[in-house]
């Protein structure tokens, strides 16, 4: 395994690289863990049995993890590229196979109302159950595990390393944590026992039962709502909108904290009336208190012919959301913009000032606005 780095090397590197870790950069600067798109010959796969599937006759299986319900014959892989039927049993190939690993500020996820300023030990495996043409992490998300460089990092080692790095939070992020569900779940259980928090950054394309089980072991979920339009989901995401809306409602009904990101792509999903409709739906179905982030798009992957989102568009959409009664609406990927800050929905005063991923000041005490005492939704300690 010429290209694979073992756990011992990783732990050694992580100790040596601890100063880099806290800057939010890649763990070791000369170690390109966010992988090159070449295969690693004879890649080591995990072959851990998957938890949500049904056995069918003739060694076929049906995956029950996500709304695709892939039905696969022997030796076939699911849409995600990281689950395979082998002889009538279904396996995850990425359990403990980390393809990207960093310590990020939690604001980068972004979570703005969940332990602000916390360093999040952030990891991902290869694979995704969607195919967003604008994916910002396509070099891992649109790959099979053999096509990226992986390190072996079992759940216990994730938790230990996060602790050693002083991270109170583990973030399952970058690609699509749904597709490394078993690994995320087991790691979360151990982390929780050690007093660490688990946050999930997902597109929310998951079935209700696995989501219900996951919500018992994690503390926060950020959902990327790609559009409020089925045609967009079909054409640019290769998925369906409705299951994502169901996911949002299910999380909102649980005790798990929720934030929503909407990547605004010029001309494709930035229609004001559609955004207004979405905000009304959010307010009615999940309530006004979950933060909504309008993020700036940058040309990437298969959509390189569109310009970055004009800041004025983000401001306009934010204004619509506020008009519709959502309490916490942000502008993302525009460092220094006033829309990065949190304002009290009661007195309107600035209560968290941010610059990019950095926190300049927090005027919240015991979960309440320091100026007027209004309860501010979120997890603050």
């Amino acid at each position: 395994m010429g290209s694979e780095i073992n756990r011992r090397d990783f732990l050694k590197c992580s100790l040596l690289g601890s100063s880099l870790l806290l800057t939010g950069k890649t763990l070791v600067s000369n170690w390109p863990l966010t992988s090159s798109p070449s295969l690693s010959e004879g890649a080591d796969l995990s072959w851990v049995e998957a938890r949500y599937y049904e056995k069918l006759p003739d060694r076929e299986i049906k995956c029950l993890l996500c709304p695709r319900f892939c039905q696969l014959g022997d030796k076939e892989r699911g849409y995600c590229g990281v689950r395979e039927n082998k002889g009538g049993r279904y396996y995850t190939l990425v359990y403990g196979k980390v393809a990207s690993l960093n310590v990020d500020p939690i604001e980068k996820k972004p979570f703005f109302h969940f332990l602000p300023g916390s360093p999040a030990f952030s990891l991902a495996t290869a694979g995704c159950n969607l195919s967003c043409r604008f994916c910002q992490n396509w070099e891992i998300s649109q790959m099979r595990p053999e096509q990226v460089r992986n390190i072996n990092l079992p759940p216990e080692a994730v938790v230990t390393t996060a602790e050693n790095q002083g991270c109170p939070v583990i973030a399952y992020t970058y690609s699509e944590p749904v597709i490394f569900y078993e690994y995320m779940y087991d790691t979360s259980l151990i982390a929780r026992r050690k007093g660490l928090k688990n946050v999930v950054v997902s597109a929310g394309y998951i079935n209700p039962q696995p989501l219900a089980d996951l919500l018992k072991v994690v503390e926060a979920v950020k959902i990327d709502l790609k559009a409020f339009n089925q045609d967009f989901y079909h054409q640019y995401v290769r998925g369906e909108l409705q299951p994502v809306l169901e996911t949002l409602k299910q999380i909102a009904r649980s005790p798990v904290w929720l934030e929503i990101v909407y990547l605004v792509i010029p001309t494709l999903n930035d229609h004001p009336e559609e955004i207004r409709k979405m905000c009304r739906w959010l307010k009615t179905e999940i309530g006004p208190d979950y933060p909504l982030h309008f993020s700036r798009f940058h040309p990437m992957y298969l959509i390189k012919n569109l310009p970055p989102t004009p800041v004025s568009t983000l401001e306009k959409l934010r204004q619509i959301a506020l008009e519709e009664g959502l309490h916490y609406v942000y502008v993302g990927n525009v460092p220094g913009h006033p829309g990065e800050n949190t304002y009290c929905p009661n007195c309107g005063k600035l209560i968290i000032e941010r610059y990019g991923y950095a926190i300049n000041k927090i005027e919240i005490s015991k979960g309440k606005c320091r100026y007027c005492g209004q309860k501010i939704a979120g997890v603050w300690s």
């Binding site: 090159s36 798109p37 690693s40 030796k75 699911g78 995600c80 590229g81 649109q142 053999e146």
Partner: protein, 299 residues
């Protein structure tokens, strides 16, 4: 309209007593097929040299996903590869390839990267891999194997004929799913339009010269996984310069087998390979039987 020619060659002893291809018979069948396509009095060698410029490198894209049970076996591909190498004047100009070395080895291939002999390796061979930037073409967004993109000038799809639960049929066109990094993303909507649009990418369309469909053993139901109870010893090869017509004739063979076994047609099962009609619309070949001339012979 000039009809597309498709050759079907049958040999009753193509598979030996162990159900393995006999390389000598295979080669006779391939040569006969090429002669049928060429028309008398051209030889198979003349025909091949009319398709490929001298000094070029040729890729033989095979399908080894089902390993020994139902793949392009070395008994077939190596026989053809050696003959093509000899015809081109240098064995090392021919590369037999698929996605991974592991799949090739498990199918019985002996890997070789020496330019002095027939080369056999996967995209994951050290120093090969995929291109770094995705090719964007219609609905396709994929990294191409550097074998297809950079190491060969011309390409032959040496595919296996199988029923496919999602695509309907997998044969010469769909074989190129093994030339990209993300075939798992192209199985929605019965693989339509993805199979056709992938082939329409210049890296394939401009290099592809010939389809050879290995129909020695045909999985006519519940494919693409191997189920021996629904695999027929058909002992045929289907050859054509028209990649769509070749697959249409492969599909026809599958339907004939299904009818004979009392199974519903793919259309009745709601999974006819509609990507073939999309391919025709893209101008990649003929999908209608009336536009295909079938030349059939036994050796």
């Amino acid at each position: 309209m000039i009809k597309s020619k498709v050759a079907i060659v049958y040999a009753k002893n193509a598979l030996n007593a162990e159900n393995l291809p006999d390389p000598r018979v295979v080669l006779r069948m391939i040569r006969k097929g090429l002669e049928l396509l060429a028309g008398s009095p051209a030889t198979a060698e003349d025909y091949i040299l009319s398709l490929l410029a001298p000094g070029s490198n040729l890729g033989l894209k095979i399908n080894t996903i089902a390993r020994r049970a139902l793949s392009t076996l070395p008994e077939t591909a190596v026989a053809i590869g050696l003959w093509l190498g000899k015809t081109l004047g240098q064995e090392g100009r021919v590369i037999i390839w698929d996605r991974t070395n592991e799949e090739l080895k498990e199918t019985g291939y002996k890997l070789s990267t020496s330019p002095d002999s027939l080369r056999i390796f996967g995209t994951d061979n050290r120093g090969v891999g995929y291109q770094r930037e995705p090719v964007i073409h219609r609905n396709i967004g994929s990294l191409f194997s550097r074998i297809q993109a950079e190491l060969v000038n011309y390409s032959i799809s040496l595919a296996i004929l199988k029923d496919h639960g999602l695509a309907g049929v997998t044969a010469g066109l769909k074989n190129y799913f093994g030339a990209i990094h993300n075939p798992n993303k192209y199985h929605d909507s019965h693989c339509d339009p993805f199979v056709a649009e992938l082939f329409d990418c210049p890296l394939i369309k401009e290099k592809h010269r010939l389809t050879i469909i290995d129909a020695l053993k045909v999985q006519y139901h519940r494919g693409p996984s191997y189920h021996p109870q629904w695999a027929e010893k058909a002992q045929k090869f289907i050859l054509s310069q028209d990649p769509v017509a070749a697959d249409v004739i492969g599909w026809k063979l599958i339907e004939e087998l299904r009818t004979r076994k009392g199974l519903p047609s793919l259309k009745e099962e709601g999974r006819e390979p509609s990507y073939l009609f999309t391919a025709e619309k893209l101008g990649l070949g003929q999908a209608k039987l009336e536009n295909i001339e079938v030349l059939e012979e036994e050796v």
